[in-house]
Structure formats: structure tokens, C-alpha cells
């Protein structure tokens, strides 16, 4: 058993009631500074599937630090959401530095898939697929109704104008000309000028972070970009064409229609949705994705990863989506 596994087992024994032993501890994925581990822990004689999210040396991801909340804050947000009825995994323990396993937290491992190809095309999801847009609306309504008074001290406020400024700064720093992105910034400035709405925003509500089984949405993952801001940001991001994975006609994540999402949102108390404003946030989503692709090139220059190189060349998909949206008025 490695030092890490020994320290982790000791942490589990301290944090989990009835913990007996771990039958497996397996690294799933993650970059150099953020890791995901699957743990099978026996508690009171019953196997519990768990997930550990951690950064080994206690440091958060280097990229984008100004925008990301720490893992301990993420755990607080997840628990606040769970108490408010949002489908999220239950957090079992937040790591302390004295545990010697880095920073992060341990949560339940829920069933389901996050891979878009499977969710959009596997026959196992044929029955649930037409219901997913409405479920997304319901879940988003529950997130946007979370009482933020307790979260205000730990989450940044990032509204439309602040986000636009942020991505303008990142775009400028890349110093590479994209006339379509310039046009999109100009187009958005008066349109995202601030609606005054301030709710909890997940910040990355899209395929990959939606855990879906043939029964429906099981849990919402990866809260590291959570902030307080305009709730329509989440809806626009979910509807951004790059997240439809080739099923462009299904505006919501490649699986559903906007009207179904809106119906679910309103039925769950989320309130009226201004569709014109959703479109503005979709424009923002494509612009943000385009600037993120430019950022992939910067990362590529550091690590020469062929995957990042290829994503760098995807900036043009954002350009073409922005042209469809701004010039042709097509969502």
C-alpha cells in the first residue's frame, strides 16, 4: 500500500461512520494538479461507492485561478445545493491538510454517464432523452432558487458585464486577431449590460458535468466555476452549439428543445425566461468557447499536447456559430 493509500484509508476511517476497509482505490482521470479517484469503501458491512476529488499538493489548478473557487468551497456549495433539493452527490468529508492527502473532498459516487456520445446516441437512453431538456429546466430552477445569503461570503459575483470584461481581457492577452470575436464583443456589450438578477450560477452546466442514467439526471458535478450572477448564463451555456455535439437541431445539449427546458424551469418555480436574453447568453457561450480554444493554443505551447493543438484549431467553430447567431439570427 502506498503512502497516499495508507493516509487516505486513515482519513476514511476517521471521517466515515462504520468504515471497515476500502476494497479498491483507483485513479480515474485528471490533470497534473487535480485528480479524481474512485473508492469502494465498506461501511457497516455494506459497500459504498465514493469519489475523491483532490489536488495532491493542496494547490488549486493553475489555469484560471482567478475564477475558480477552491475545493473546500466547492464542497460547501454542493452541500448547500443538496439541502435545497438540487441533485448532487452527498459530500462525506472535506480533507484537512493534516490528513496528508492534499486538499479536496470525498463524496458519493452516483450511477450514470457523462459521455455525450452515449447520452445522445446509445439506445439505453432512447426513452429518457426526450425528457432531459425538461429535467434540465427543473434542475436549473432548483439551483437558481438556492438561498445565496450564506454563499455570498464565499462566492464571487460575476454578472454579464464582469464576465464579458474578463473574457475580453483573456482574448486581448492572447494577441491573435479574430474579427468575428471582436464583432461579438461589440454586439454583446449593450445586450449583457446587466439585468440585476443575482442567483447562484453553476457556471459550467453542460455535457460532461451532467450525470445521466436511463432514469434521468442523477447529479450535477464540477462546481468549481460556481458564482453569483445571471441565471440565464447557465441556460445559454447548455444551449451553446459546441455542447450539442453535432445534433445542432436539438438546441438543449443536443437532446432537447428550448421550450421543454423553459416549461420545466417555470413549473419548478424558476420564473419567466426572456428568450431574446437566452440567445444573448448563447452568443456569449460561443464567444467564451472561442476564447477557450485560443487558450488551448497557449497551453499547447507549454506542453505540446496533440489534443490541445487540435482544440486550438476549433476556434473557427465558435466563429461560425457566432455568424449564425449574430448575422443570421439563428439559434
Amino acid at each position: 500500500m502506498s503512502d497516499f493509500q495508507f493516509a487516505l484509508t486513515r482519513t476514511l476511517a476517521k471521517a466515515l461512520p462504520g468504515f471497515e476497509h476500502a476494497t479498491s482505490i483507483t485513479r480515474l482521470s485528471g490533470g497534473a494538479s487535480q485528480e479524481t479517484w474512485a473508492i469502494d469503501a465498506v461501511m457497516f458491512g455494506v459497500n459504498h461507492p465514493l469519489i475523491l476529488r483532490r489536488s495532491p499538493d493542496g494547490k488549486e489548478r493553475a489555469l484560471d485561478t482567478s475564477h475558480q473557487i477552491g475545493l473546500a468551497t466547492e464542497a460547501v456549495v454542493i452541500e448547500t445545493c443538496r439541502e435545497a433539493g438540487v441533485p448532487v452527490p452527498r459530500v462525506r468529508c472535506v480533507l484537512q491538510s493534516k490528513d496528508g492527502v492534499g486538499s479536496g473532498y470525498i463524496m458519493d459516487r452516483l450511477p450514470g454517464e457523462t459521455t455525450p456520445r452515449k447520452i445522445l446516441h446509445d439506445t439505453a437512453f432512447d426513452e429518457i432523452r426526450p425528457l432531459l431538456a425538461r429535467q434540465c429546466g427543473e434542475v436549473l430552477a432548483s439551483i437558481h432558487q438556492v438561498d445565496v445569503s450564506a454563499l455570498r461570503t464565499i462566492l464571487p459575483v460575476q454578472d454579464g458585464p464582469a464576465l464579458l470584461r474578463r473574457y475580453r481581457d483573456i482574448y486581448d492577452a492572447h494577441d491573435y486577431p479574430h474579427p468575428v470575436f471582436e464583432l461579438a464583443f461589440k454586439w454583446l456589450e449593450p445586450r449583457l449590460a446587466g439585468t440585476g438578477l443575482q442567483t447562484l450560477v453553476h457556471g459550467d452546466f453542460r455535457h460532461g458535468n451532467l450525470l445521466i442514467s436511463p432514469r434521468g439526471i442523477e447529479g450535477i458535478l464540477d462546481w468549481e466555476l460556481a458564482h453569483i450572477g445571471d441565471p440565464l448564463e447557465d441556460i445559454g451555456w447548455l444551449c451553446t452549439n459546441s455542447w450539442r455535439f453535432g445534433v445542432a437541431g436539438k438546441v438543449v445539449g443536443g437532446f432537447g428543445d428550448l421550450q421543454d427546458l423553459v416549461a420545466g424551469y417555470q413549473a419548478s418555480g424558476g420564473g419567466e425566461i426572456d428568450l431574446e436574453q437566452v440567445k444573448n447568453w448563447i452568443v456569449y457561450g460561443s464567444l467564451k468557447w472561442g476564447v477557450m480554444c485560443m487558450g488551448m493554443y497557449q497551453s499547447f505551447r507549454a506542453d505540446h499536447s496533440v489534443e490541445r493543438a487540435a482544440i486550438g484549431r476549433r476556434a473557427v467553430e465558435a466563429e461560425s456559430d457566432l455568424i449564425n447567431l449574430i448575422i443570421h439570427g439563428k439559434i
Binding site: P177, L183, K186, R244, A248, V316, E319
Partner: protein, 120 residues
């Protein structure tokens, strides 16, 4: 004048090696990255084939829009500055058509299967 094979043929040979000889021997993440690498070489093939004409036409459109001359990079930077300073906008004749044609040409090289402008 260089020797044969041409750049296009060389890139094609490496892509063929990756797809038909290396990939069947690989597993997991390495197999995935080999697929990404082969796709990157497909971009190189398409840019070698389509790039010169597309970029010459892009440059001609930029000169017509902005006047003056310069490299493609300089002209694009000037167009960006003009948009930012609101000297050029969607009401400028030819701008929308230029941006759309440029995106179309870049898509044909980088992502010919993307759903983007197919419906436009």
C-alpha cells in the same frame, strides 16, 4: 525545388501509418491520442490543398474592405482594430459576407464535419 515525395504525400504517408499500422497496436489514452494526431495531419493535408487559394482570397477581400496593403496577419489586426473602434460594423457593406466566407473556408480546413454553417 525539393525532392519527391511532395509535402502532401509525406503527410499522407504518416497519417496512413498512424491509422492503419500504429493505431491497431495501441490501447486506451495512447490510441485516442493517435486518433487525434491522425486528425491533426488531416488538417495539414486540407490546409496544403485548400489554404493557398482561401488565404489569397481572404487577403483580397480584406484589401477591398480596408484599403492599403499588408500581410494577412496585419490586415486582420487592422480589421479587428476597426471593429473595436466602431469604424467598421455589420452595416459596413461586404463585412458580413467576408467574415462568413472566411469562416466557411477555415471550417473546410479545420472541421469539415462541424454543424456550424452547413445550414446557413
Amino acid at each position: 525545388m525539393t525532392d519527391q515525395p511532395s509535402l502532401l504525400e509525406l503527410v499522407g504517408a504518416v497519417k496512413n501509418f498512424l491509422e492503419h499500422h500504429a493505431m491497431p497496436e495501441l490501447k486506451g489514452q495512447t490510441a485516442f491520442h493517435a486518433r487525434v494526431a491522425a486528425n491533426a495531419l488531416a488538417i495539414v493535408e486540407r490546409e496544403l490543398t485548400l489554404g493557398p487559394k482561401a488565404m489569397a482570397e481572404e487577403k483580397a477581400r480584406l484589401v477591398a474592405l480596408l484599403g492599403g496593403d499588408g500581410t494577412l496577419d496585419e490586415l486582420n489586426r487592422r480589421l479587428c482594430a476597426h471593429i473595436r473602434e466602431e469604424r467598421v460594423g455589420l452595416d459596413t457593406p461586404g463585412l458580413a459576407a467576408h467574415l462568413e466566407q472566411t469562416a466557411r473556408d477555415k471550417l473546410a480546413i479545420n472541421q469539415p464535419d462541424y454543424s456550424g454553417l452547413n445550414a446557413a
